[in-house]
Symmetry: C2
Subunit: 232 residues, 2 copies
DNA sequence: CCAGGCAAGTTAACTCTTTCACAAAGATTA
DNA sequence: TAATCTTTGTGAAAGAGTTAACTTGCCTGG
C-alpha cells in the first residue's frame, strides 16, 4: 500500500504503451479482465515483470482474478499523459513524412497532425491527406498560433539539426527524429530518435550471430544528445 | 593474448549501428581518426561506454591517439554482418510500405529491397520505385528463388501475424514488423517490432511529466518469447 | 463461515549495464 | 633515453532492471 509512487524505471515506461496496445485490443474483442500472465505473453515477457511494472502506477488488480481491462486502460492513458490530444507537425513531407501524414492510427490514438512543412515549392500551399503544407518560414508563426506538442523530423540528415533548432526556437515541446543522425537540443526538450537503418543493422547482427558469437580477442592488435542523460 | 568466448551485451549491440553511422559521417568529412570522447558525444553517452563497447569486439584503438575510422568501420560492419548485402522484401505496400520501398538510404547501407507484396489487385503487377509488386500467393515461390534475409511487415495489424507465419514458412530469415501488434514466430527467427504509435506515447509521457529528456532509441528486441538470443 | 484455489503485490536475490578510476602503451618533446 | 602527454583497455564498484519466490487478499464451493 504505497501512497508515494516511486520513480518509474525507463524500461517500464517503454513497456507501458505495449500493455496499453494489447489491452485495447483485448477490450475490443469483448474481454473485460486479464491476468498478468496473459498480458505478459502479449508482449513477450513474464508475469512478474508485468505485475512489477503495473505496481509502479498503483494497485489496481484484483487478487485471484486479474486486472479489469477498462480500468487499466484508463490508468495507463492517464499515466502516459494521453488524456488530452496532442498536436503534431511534420517537417519534411517526402516519402516517409507523407506516409506519416496519412496514417490514421495516430489520430485514433490522440495524436493529431495539424500541419506539414517543407522547402519544396511544389508542395507548399498544397494539402496532403487533409493536412496543409507550409513553407519553413511560417513555422514559428504557426507553432505560436496553434501550440504544438510534438515535432516530427523527416528531412534529410544534413538538415535535421537545423530543423530541430528551429522547432525548439518556435516552441515545439518535444521532437521525434527520423533522420539518420543524432540531434542535439536543450535537455528540457524530450527527443526520441528512430532510425530505420539502425533497426535493419541490429537485425543483421542477429541474423549472422551464429558465427559471431565466439569472439577472438587480443592476439594482435575493437537523446537531447550531448552528454546528457543516456537512455536506452 | 586471450581467446575467450565473450558475450556481447545487447545494450552494446544496439549502440554499434549508431557508432557506425557516426563514423561513416566523420569519414565522409575527411576525418581519419576519432577518440572515444568524440564518438561518445555523437550518440549521447560517455567515453568509458564507448571504449567498453568497442572492447567487446577486440582491441583496435591506438593509445594516445584514438581509433582509425576506416578500420573501425570495417570491424563494425564485419561484426554486424553487414559485409554482404541483405535481400529485403516488403509485405503491404500501403503508405508506409511504399515509403520504405522508395528510401534510398537502405540500398546505400547494403539492404536491397528486391520485391513487394500486396493483396490489392490494383498494385499487383505494377512497379513502384523500381521494385515489382507481387500477389501474396507468389511469396513462397519468390522467396525460395531469390533467398530473402529480411521480411518487412507493413500490413494492417489484423493481418500481421498471418503474414509473419507465411514469411517464416516461405523461408525468410528475419522479420521487421511495423504493424502495431506483437507477432509470434519460431524462436529461431529474429524479430524486431517497431511501432510508431508507441514512440509517440513514450514521448507523451516525458512531455506530460515535464521530465528530463530522453535520448536514445527505443528499444528492445524480442525473439518470439522472452528473448533467447544470448549464447552463454 | 471455512477451505482451497488463484492471481496480485512485494521482497530480495540475481543479472545486466554503466561508470569510475587507473594502469598500460603509443606519441611527442627535449 | 627519459619525461610527459594523451587516450585506450579493463577490473571493480555502483546502479538499473529482471526474476524467483513468498505473502496477501479476493472469490467460489461446500
Amino acid at each position: 500500500m504505497k501512497m508515494v509512487r516511486k520513480k518509474v524505471p525507463k524500461a517500464t515506461i517503454n513497456r507501458l504503451p505495449l500493455y496499453l496496445r494489447g489491452l485495447v485490443n483485448f477490450y475490443s474483442k469483448g474481454e473485460r479482465v486479464v491476468s498478468s500472465t496473459r498480458l505478459a505473453e502479449l508482449i513477450g515477457t513474464n508475469s512478474a515483470q508485468v505485475r512489477k511494472d503495473l505496481s509502479f502506477l498503483g494497485e489496481f488488480g484484483i487478487r485471484g482474478i486479474g486486472y479489469e481491462i477498462e480500468k487499466l486502460i484508463e490508468e495507463l492513458s492517464q499515466f502516459l499523459g494521453l488524456a488530452q490530444a496532442k498536436k503534431v507537425i511534420v517537417v519534411g513531407v517526402g516519402r516517409l513524412g507523407s506516409a506519416l501524414l496519412g496514417y490514421n492510427g495516430f489520430k485514433e490514438r490522440g495524436f493529431e497532425i495539424v500541419a506539414g512543412f517543407d522547402v519544396d515549392p511544389s508542395k507548399i500551399g498544397k494539402e496532403m491527406n487533409g493536412v496543409n503544407i507550409y513553407k519553413m518560414d511560417s513555422l514559428r508563426k504557426i507553432v505560436k498560433k496553434i501550440g504544438v506538442d510534438i515535432g516530427i523530423i523527416t528531412t534529410p540528415a544534413q538538415k535535421a539539426q537545423e530543423v530541430a533548432e528551429k522547432l525548439v526556437e518556435a516552441g515545439v515541446k518535444s521532437i521525434l527524429n527520423f533522420a539518420p543522425v543524432s540531434i542535439e537540443v536543450s535537455d528540457k526538450i524530450p527527443v526520441r530518435n528512430v532510425d530505420l537503418s539502425v533497426e535493419f543493422q541490429i537485425l543483421s547482427y542477429y541474423l549472422s550471430k551464429g558465427e559471431k558469437s565466439i569472439i577472438k580477442r587480443g592476439n594482435e592488435k575493437r537523446f537531447g544528445e550531448g552528454g546528457k542523460p543516456s537512455i536506452k
